[in-house]
Subunit: 218 residues, 2 copies
């Protein structure tokens, strides 16, 4: 329940040289993949079998699948899962929530340590074209007002990086519009989320992806 | 592009007695309804025809449908749209983004005025059972650090209200788990979002709904 977060931290000087691990930071994702085909169960089952879980924790419930682990493992898994579902030819819609910095449920208790720097991700192309809508939320819940994080600096840096990746195609109400190879879209969003996470503890991001949409782009 | 918001405001005293309208506040939603059936186009078309647009602005793109208008109109539309898709018997997944307080794209310019109080919504039952996962984000982007909004007070009030509505069934990583009649789930989430919006300008909320899921609850 991230919205009940009680505390948040900004980047601290290197008093403690040990960067927090993804597990300590609660790095993870929730994903819902919807396949618009009556064969959706077998298409999804095959896609899940195709996605490399690696060191991820993976748990499915009736609404979504939770992934816990490193940013790279999450990005690789999401790209493989959605690409494989898209290769069925069916229209696929995926809803993704990325979260970091709030590993608990009600209170965001994070152990002492430095927020980690994450290198930009680069994923192998999938050959699947994706259209997507993206929102990125640095959450300042309960942060020390004497030491506010410079959210805007981080967000502008993240957006600049996304533009350099060539996947930003516009903006719409409440979201940034992305298009490109599914791997580039996911790598861009995961990198931006992790980049902001280098200076803001609690950062979430939401991404809705459409593959094989019959609706023409406006 | 709400994550590029440049300013946010907290509730101001009643110097200006005129409450901002939903249009001035940029009250709106994006929704993606995925129907896991090869007949999804006709099921969605019928559901869209069934949903009462009323005074809403409605615009569909390849990824989602944008709704602009009042909180009540949005809630009524979403409940009717998703319920009707669910009546097909198909497994339906809906991804909803609610946003208020950032009507622009890059800069959240809001005219002078009081943030509005919104009465709790009460929708007629749909008869459709929904499972859902919910996140609520009061965004303090660039707010005056001398006058921080009391996010926690607002969030606790919103959660308390949701519990009283009887739809909160648990919490999972990053989300609150809801279940109940689709109308109660949507009314609860829209009410909570609007309640927090009475004291925080920029508030978003994300809801993933599952109807007719073949996956048993854990």
């Amino acid at each position: 329940m991230p919205h009940m977060a009680m505390s948040s931290r900004t980047l601290t000087p290197d008093l403690n040289p040990t960067a927090l691990t993804p597990q300590e930071l609660g790095v993870g994702a929730r994903v819902t993949v919807a396949v618009m085909d009556s064969d959706y169960v077998s298409i999804l089952t095959e896609a899940l079998a195709h996605a490399p879980a690696g060191n991820l924790q993976v748990r499915t419930d009736p609404v979504s699948t939770w992934l816990g682990g490193s940013e790279r493992d999450i990005a690789v898994y999401l790209a493989a899962l959605i690409a494989q579902a898209g290769r069925s030819g069916a229209h696929v819609s995926a809803s993704i929530l990325l979260s970091r910095g709030c590993p608990g449920e009600v209170v965001c208790a994070v152990p002492a340590g430095r927020l980690p720097q994450v290198s930009p991700l680069d994923l192998a192309p999938t050959g699947i074209h994706a259209q997507a809508q993206w929102a990125l939320y640095p959450l300042a819940d309960g942060s020390d007002p004497q030491r506010p994080a410079d959210h805007m600096r981080d967000i502008y840096a993240a957006i600049d990086q996304a533009r350099r990746n060539g996947v930003v195609v516009g903006s719409e109400h409440y979201v940034t519009v992305l298009a490109g190879d599914l791997a580039d879209v996911i790598a861009t969003v995961v990198t931006a989320w992790a980049t902001v996470g280098a200076s803001v503890q609690h950062v979430t991001s939401h991404l809705t992806i459409s593959v094989n949409s019959p609706t023409p782009a406006p």
